[in-house]
Point group: C2
Chain length 306, copies 2
């Protein structure tokens, strides 16, 4: 089968929802072009500092690879990798090391922060405390809010204009679907809109229209060495259940992931943006409510230092 | 196990999402009360005519049973059953007969209309024409729009204030989820809002918060004789796939169906209502676009009479 784009080379990938066949070269170009279009000219320009959340997994490294290519030639703009070590025994150190190696290979500046230094506990310790107190808490949900808070702080320290997160199309569709099912309109609005607050660095998701399988293909084609092990906590997650459902739907109806995400973005235009933002009464950081989610969680565990 | 409500009788049903146990008597009262609350005082009052779409299935008959009890004692209010015969060989006649028997048993007025007299073709004929022309069309989707149009006409003829439809919580959750997945914001808004047009009878869904299994229990407890056969076209439906997904989610996370529907209703408050409504250029009936869906479909089949 010939490539549908260049009509010359042999195709190596058939994109089901579009019916197109891609050769390796055209596929790499296509992905970069799609990311460029997702970001737009207001983000890829001079005098920008882009912080990038880097876990060492395929998504964040593919994102960093592409952003590095975009920003390297632009005067007065730069990217910086922000690496968070949550403290997950037998898992995270490998990811952090792959992230560092990647940055060194591509000459990208990076900073590392740990849960331990920011909130006093590793994720493993938090999970153990919750277990000892018989609290049924999903590690993913609190890991997420803590990481988010730390990344924001790091991005503020580095004076970043934007914080880039490596969420791919699958991640987006899953998060949206989870919120549809939970029926939480406020969370849906937050998922799509960034709060208007100078203490909160606006987030961008360069890979939000690239499905996971294409991120993987891209990483393999460009021989990007990423951390392959899944997080030991991920199987406990509600997200895994939703992910299976959406994968099956996509198989039966190619284009489903994209329609979930693009439909949500249209819906977002009607949802209110939280104009005001409070400040957490414990940590003084921006928060949608009186107490931020991280402090709320630490309070529940009985380990909040105030 | 004792009933959680009266604390006396033996319970016969455990409601998973609430943890409550019900005896038969308290369950019947509970369902009626929930339907009464769903409708509210602006609908259950004097000088009302309520048309009820009656298929002969469990949902529409349970709805008619409850509405009959509500409206019988109210002066100057009445209900009328609107029965549509789509023309589905070996299926619909049984349903229509059960609906008629039910109306006669409970002394409810009724009217019958057929696809044949309204648009010139049975559903079976339409499906055959589509097949012969190699058009891949889902029978459920066009059956739905035609039935909707006929029910509206019947309700207008009978000067109904409202048209009651027997959709239960499962039906609602499925329809909402299908629209979330398709990402069609306009259809989502239409699903929740009635168009503001005197040619369009406002629809109410008395059972929208009652899950299908509870409708079934209610029907069995009150020995309502309903049409049990599934529509021969239903297995071909995308809806069946979504229904399986939601059932599995509900099993793992009791309360899921309710949170999908209540979340959607909160979301609806932000979605725009179609203020203006056009008139179909072919049939002169209210339509969201220049040509109504029924005429659009007949045109596609090459059988539109203009």
């Amino acid at each position: 089968m010939k490539c549908s784009i260049c009509k010359k080379n042999i195709s190596f990938y058939h994109q089901r929802h579009s019916g197109l066949n891609f050769c390796k070269e055209c596929f790499v170009k296509y992905i970069k072009k799609k990311v460029r279009k997702t970001l737009g000219k207001n983000i890829i320009k001079q005098n920008m500092t882009i912080g990038m959340g880097l876990s060492g997994g395929k998504d964040s490294l593919v994102m960093a690879y592409i952003l590095n290519e975009f920003y390297k030639p632009i005067p007065n703009s730069n990217i910086i990798a922000l690496i968070v070590d949550e403290g997950i025994e037998g898992f995270r150190k490998d990811g952090v090391n792959m992230a560092i190696k990647f940055c060194e290979e591509y000459d990208i500046a990076y900073k590392i922060a740990t849960f331990k230094e920011y909130i006093g506990y590793d994720l493993d310790e938090l999970v153990k405390i919750a277990k000892d107190k018989n609290l049924t808490m999903n590690p993913c949900s609190f890991c997420g809010v803590i990481r988010r808070k730390i990344l924001n702080k790091m991005a503020l320290n580095e004076k970043c204009n934007y914080l880039a997160i490596g969420h791919n199309l699958d991640d987006m569709a899953q998060a949206i679907m989870m919120n549809y099912i939970e029926g939480d309109v406020k969370k849906l609005a937050i998922l799509g809109h960034d709060a208007n607050n100078p203490m909160f660095v606006k987030r961008i998701k360069p890979l939000k229209y690239i499905p996971e399988n294409e991120v993987l293909l891209f990483a393999d084609l460009l021989e990007i060495k990423y951390h392959k092990a899944p997080c030991p906590y991920s199987s406990m997650s509600y997200r895994a259940e939703i992910s299976d459902i959406i994968d099956k739907l996509e198989e039966n109806h190619p284009g489903t992931k994209y329609s979930i995400v693009s439909g949500f973005e249209k819906l977002l235009e009607y949802l209110p943006v939280e104009k005001e933002m409070n400040v957490c009464k414990y940590c003084n950081e921006p928060s949608a409510s009186e107490i931020c989610k991280v402090c709320m969680f630490l309070e529940k565990l009985g380990i909040l230092n105030v």
